[in-house]
């Protein structure tokens, strides 16, 4: 998506500017789109303050984490349909085991659940590399398995977590508050770490190498199997963060949440964020605003006075439209090259 046509490039001044725009144009554009939407939103509702900001950012947290999880795998040339299921599984695991515990125990549990999610999803990546079965098939299977495990961990809606843990993700002990800062911090730290890892370190950059050309990466000494496993493990950990955010908002675990729909949202977020589904292209820093925008459709539509049920339908249709436009663009790009 970041690729501009050769004629457009020639018209834009010096090569450095040209390269910068080519590299970061999509990221900047999508952030600008988010800003425009927020400004529009403030004119739609009578009062825009801490409460509204907090609601949007808190609600968008799990979308962002799940989008980043998907982005890491797709950039490495894969696709993980299981991330939505992992969100459901980790959120019910959190609700089941954290209920009634002290904050210290809860934080240890959170770390353990995150590590477990990374190991289990890394195992899925390992199965893909060893079996040579396509990602889509294996992760469709892991999506089923995670949803089933969620039902085994917590058979029906219930469980809970402590107020202070909910505060970390929502800025309030009961999930609804007017303090957006904890959520902002909780989003920023992991995203900045992952963006630094993918842009500056050897192991992070190998994701791009494997995603854009597996054979070339292998010939230049990148181990593609290891890279894929690492990508899936990171996706598992980020899905767990998304699960914690979702349990912090609702206060309970719900094993019947449809993980497939959540996965769909994550794929739409990365497509809007300029990550090519063919792998090797994109930045998690553009996925963050893209995920926010997709979540943001909902409050905007209700501010416009649309019935919540209908708002959900419109949100679904908008997501499909995003995918359609991306599909046509990708097809045209592949024809040109």
């Amino acid at each position: 998506m970041t690729a501009t046509t050769p004629t457009a490039e020639r018209r834009l001044g010096s090569p450095e500017v040209k390269r910068w725009i080519q590299r970061h144009g999509w990221t900047v554009g999508i952030w600008l789109l988010l800003v425009v939407l927020v400004i529009w939103y403030t004119t739609l509702i009578p009062k825009f303050g801490g409460f509204q900001t907090s609601t949007i950012i808190t609600g968008g947290t799990s979308w962002i984490f799940l989008g980043v999880a998907q982005a890491v795998v797709v950039i490495a040339g894969g696709l993980d349909l299981g991330v939505g299921g992992m969100l459901v599984l980790t959120s019910v695991a959190a609700a089941q085991f954290m209920d009634g515990q002290s904050l210290g125990v809860i934080l240890i549990l959170a770390v353990l659940i995150t590590i477990a999610a990374a190991v289990v999803n890394g195992l899925v990546g390992w199965i893909i590399t060893v079996s040579k079965v396509p990602d889509i098939v294996v992760t469709l299977g892991s999506l089923f398995i995670y949803q089933g495990l969620a039902l085994m961990v917590l058979p029906k809606v219930g469980g809970g977590t402590s107020g202070s843990f909910r505060w970390m993700f929502t800025g309030s002990e009961n999930g609804i508050g007017s303090n957006p800062w904890p959520a902002i911090v909780v989003i920023t730290i992991p995203v900045v770490i992952i963006a630094w890892w993918m842009g500056r370190t050897r192991s992070g950059l190998s994701l791009y190498a494997v995603g854009s050309d597996k054979t070339a990466a292998f010939l230049s000494g990148v181990r593609d199997a290891k890279t894929k496993i690492v990508a899936f493990a990171v996706a598992g950990a980020f899905s767990a963060l998304a699960g914690f955010s979702s349990v912090s908002i609702s206060g309970v675990g719900n094993p019947t949440t449809d993980g497939g729909t959540l996965t769909l949202n994550s794929v739409a977020a990365i497509v809007l964020g300029g990550v090519a589904l063919t792998g090797g292209v994109g930045s998690v820093l553009a996925v963050v605003p893209a995920a926010m925008i997709l979540f943001f459709f909902n409050p905007i539509l209700s501010a416009l006075g649309v019935d919540p049920n209908r708002a959900q339908v419109i949100q679904g249709i908008l997501i499909v439209l995003v995918m359609m436009v991306a599909g046509v663009l990708e097809w045209r790009r592949s024809r040109r090259s």
Partner: protein, 335 residues
């Protein structure tokens, strides 16, 4: 997508090698024999665990499970041959059953026609998205499921408020038996669907186009196949098959709600995968899928006797999909 994976669309593979081939090679050339063996072993094991199972009533229970799975999996098979999948088929089935039940007071034939129209419409939209706008099939159909659920959640209290009782005709077809209560009427519907799908895949140009598209989209385009027309037709057909399955289940249960068929989505994919249909297109048969559906029907009885919950079943279905795809990939490379 290598040339070695091109399997002719017929089941009659005559692979008689002069020297004794390895066991893996023999099994790979006769995958359906393995499936029949698995089916028999499962029936025997279930019979050992619960001796009452080996009776007309017990086996019919498994068949009643297998019928809707088999019809839904027919849709999955058609689409998987093209390299696609339909994750909206269960929601299409639910929506069709809901509309038919709701419109039943206006006449049985009208209600059934409207119900089938829902599947045709939703399926065609899927086909347009995949075939014309080139949206990834998984994403298109997943989104279709989300949209249908949203629409019907709203419509359930507005334009489709009122009766959720299925009409008596569909209740008989979906839940009734004949031949002294031994054979479910739904089995006749499945037989009709099966003959139609087998005929389409083996004897018609449409069927050959499905295999061609899945096996090599570029070659099929160069040889003049209009991919988008084939895809729209395939997805529309899958939608109608979903409607038929939805009406049968609505008839069997008697009344409808928005969670009616959702639990059969995973089994429908699993049945096609068990039957040896490759999710990446070009390889598979409906006869394999029928065996897959029957295996899942028996498995369902076994799990019920063992008292396994829904969670265990989902984990099992997921493991089956991964495990068998792994096995089929190994067999394909052994060949």
């Amino acid at each position: 997508m290598t040339e070695t994976r091109t399997t002719p669309p017929s089941d009659s593979i005559t692979d008689v090698a002069p020297e004794a081939p390895s066991i893996a090679k023999r099994l790979a050339s006769r995958p359906q024999l393995v499936l029949v063996a698995v089916l028999v072993v499962l029936i025997v094991v279930t019979g050992i665990i619960e001796p009452n199972y080996l009776s007309v009533a017990g086996l019919r229970n498994s068949l009643v499970w297998a019928i809707p799975i088999g019809i839904l999996a027919a849709g999955q098979t058609l689409l998987m041959l093209t390299g696609g999948i339909d994750l909206s088929i269960a929601m299409i089935a639910t929506a069709s059953a809901y509309v038919t039940a709701n419109q039943s007071p206006k006449g049985t034939a009208f209600a059934i026609a409207v119900g089938l129209l829902v599947g045709l419409l939703a399926g065609s939209l899927n086909g347009l998205g995949v075939g014309v706008f080139r949206v990834n099939p998984l994403i298109m159909t997943l989104a279709m499921a989300a949209i249908l659920l949203g629409l019907f959640t709203g419509w359930a209290t507005t334009i489709f408020a009122g009766s959720t009782r299925m009409n008596d005709f569909m209740r008989t077809v979906g839940g009734g038996n004949f031949f002294g209560g031994r054979v479910p009427w739904a089995a006749v519907v499945w037989l009709g669907v099966a003959l139609l799908v087998l005929y389409l895949l083996r004897r018609t140009g449409f069927g050959r186009n499905l295999y061609a598209l899945g096996d090599n989209p570029i070659a099929s385009r160069l040889s003049g196949i209009r991919a988008w027309q084939v895809l729209v037709a395939a997805y529309a057909l899958s939608g109608v098959l979903g409607s038929i399955a939805g009406l049968l289940i609505g008839g069997r249960i008697g009344s409808v709600d928005l969670q009616l068929v959702g639990f059969l989505l995973l089994p429908s994919v699993a049945a096609a995968v068990i039957g040896g249909t490759s999710i990446f297109g070009g390889i598979g048969t409906y006869s394999g899928t029928i065996l897959g559906a029957l295996i899942l029907g028996v498995l369902q009885s076994l799990l019920t006797f063992l008292g396994a919950g829904q969670g265990v079943q989902q984990v099992l279905y997921g493991s089956i999909v991964i495990g068998l795809s792994w096995m089929y990939t190994r067999l394909a490379s052994a060949q």
